[in-house]
Symmetry: C2
Subunit: 369 residues, 2 copies
């Protein structure tokens, strides 16, 4: 296995900024990965995703294995060719969606058996099958180990059991992944909100050895405060010289706090999901374009966001009120670009040694909910 | 009133190709106008509409007067600025949608009173109010007179009555329009499928005098054969030196037949409506992307359509099956571009004096429905 070069160019406290170099292109870190669940970042062309500033996108193994099917994607040339995205792709293992979307039939040491949420068909996902789907059939650049993510809150015994199963599945994932040169494998730390479990999880992952390390099992309902408490210690348990990826996070304020604590990569459906529901993200938080106060507001959402700054809020208000698809397109595009702009600001702030000031100003600018 | 220069560059039988020169840009004829009902060509940015090859788009007075309201559009700088389309816009009069979408309260010599299909609110549209909305408030480049379009089939007496009311409304529209320099006013021929009524309508329009002449009251259920029979005589009743516009048409095969009979302009929701329902137009007719035969078809819809030829049918099939917004976007875009490509082919065929051969080959290529 050959880990992608990860060049940390500057540090500011626990935070770092750098570049993860993949054969399909550089990923500037801290990085936000738009989510392309079913082979499309919802409502956007890949050209629009690129224009918004994204270096890498995420694909969902669970959705793609069910439809159109991983073998079909492979016959069509792999996920990059299928969806026309020629930059890097990270795929999740499918584990999280199996737990959250499908009807679980059985979780054993060997695998998880589940029913499709689309047609009720029965499927099996094991660490080895997840690697086969991600690495061989979809052709993902960054492959995630299969893990078990427990619901929050979890009894400590249950959280320990899932964390230990995840650790064993991590070792099996690594064995199945083998000595690939052009793809990387990330392990996933579990342990819910319990420090000792996070410690044990990190130690076992490091013993197995991965190309990067994800923090899983957060953003599952515990809230901003509980999540930042875990982030006070969890990232530092993971190797300093490899990328750290906080899965499924999050709101801009969550991202800022996580970056300050040493996280390098993020993914979340929030910008596109918000955009489909008439919600625009701004530097001060979300606004609902349906609100009548925008009806004659001739200003753009954000003068610095190039993909949306030629649209007036009045026009977007009209599109949302009229249920026009263009509102979903422009707001999804704007939100992705806003998130990418935030990441660029964080990278610059770290490089210039003023992340703490940036973070304080960012928090102060948040509007009341 | 100052009619836009209409330069006919070549003729082939009854067909003509040329350029209608407006202050906001040239319209190459025969021209197809994508429909931007509520201030957006559904599912597309104006940049995408332009990329597809459109010179002019159509806006619906009925929809815009109800939402966001014509006065509001005016306060926001007019329809071009509001929706970011800086090319020419033709607006319809609102009459057709009042008849087809709203609950009509009353049609009198003076005006039509109706209830909004959105909120039931009561509105009045008169020839003068329609001109005010289109020319003054929306700022349309090509303004249509208010007319009454009867349902098909219509008793001859009913069709005559509506045609004569439309003629009187045409004269009032012209008086209200006055001596505008940068905008044009088109009259609308009515008379259903009765030749004598079409003749009387044309004569009365010509007596009033317009900058262009539309053929209304077709594509309302009479079918391709009955429509082409009317088109065998109706266009020739209208002035040869001014643009002729067939309203609400249509399928590519309808457009080809109408162009051969001397029509210069078209509009239709078909390409975008089809695109939102998984249907792609090809030179051989429509195909339903949901069909399983496309599941592993790696070829594009049409290698010559630049906006869509990097997408495989297999990918579009997957997007349609998955109800992904991107399918509606790409198929709407493809369909508009296919229609524009057809218009370009028609213009070239006329310029090269081979329209009849083009028309025969086009008909022969149509797949069975």
């Amino acid at each position: 296995m050959s880990a992608f070069p990860f060049e940390i160019k500057a540090r500011d406290g626990a935070a770092r900024t750098g570049v993860l170099k993949t054969p399909r292109g550089d990923i500037r870190t801290p990085a936000f990965m738009p989510v392309g669940t079913a082979g499309t970042v919802k409502a956007l062309t890949v050209e629009q995703v690129k224009d918004a500033g994204a270096d890498i996108i995420l694909g969902n193994t669970y959705h793609l294995m069910l439809r159109p099917g991983a073998e079909r994607v492979a016959r069509l040339g792999g996920l990059h060719k299928f969806m026309r995205w020629n930059g890097p792709i990270l795929t999740d293992s499918g584990g999280f969606q199996v737990m959250s979307l499908s009807k679980i039939a059985k979780v054993t040491e060997e695998s998880v058996t589940f029913q499709s949420h689309i047609d009720g068909s029965r499927h099996i996902l094991s660490p080895e099958r997840s690697i086969e789907i991600q690495a061989d059939l979809l052709g993902s650049d960054i492959v995630m180990q299969l893990d078990e993510c427990v619901a929050w809150p979890a009894e400590e015994a249950r959280a320990r059991q899932a964390m230990q199963l995840s650790a064993r599945w991590g070792a099996r994932s690594k064995a199945a992944f083998g000595a690939r040169q052009a793809q990387n494998l990330f392990g996933i730390q579990q342990g819910s909100t319990t420090r000792a479990l996070r410690r044990e999880s990190a130690d076992r992952l490091i013993e197995t050895g991965f190309d990067g390390y994800a923090i899983g099992g957060l953003a599952v309902g515990e809230g901003h405060e509980a999540m930042t408490e875990v982030l006070d210690y969890a990232p530092a348990m993971l190797p300093d010289d490899r990328p750290r990826y906080l899965m499924g996070v999050g709101k801009p304020i969550d991202i800022v706090e996580a970056v300050a604590r040493g996280v390098d990569m993020f993914d979340c459906v929030l910008p596109t999901r918000s955009g489909r529901h008439g919600q625009a993200w701004t530097r001060a938080g979300p606004v609902n374009l349906k609100n009548a106060r925008f009806a004659e507001d001739d200003a753009p959402l954000d003068a610095d966001i190039a993909v949306s700054n030629t649209y007036s809020k009045a026009y977007l208000h009209h599109l949302v009120k009229s249920d026009e698809l263009l509102s979903q397109i422009i707001l999804s595009w704007h939100n992705i670009a806003l998130f990418q702009s935030l990441m660029a600001e964080l990278r610059t702030a770290i490089a210039e040694g003023r992340l703490d000031a940036y973070r304080k100003a960012f928090k102060a600018a948040q509007a009341e909910d």
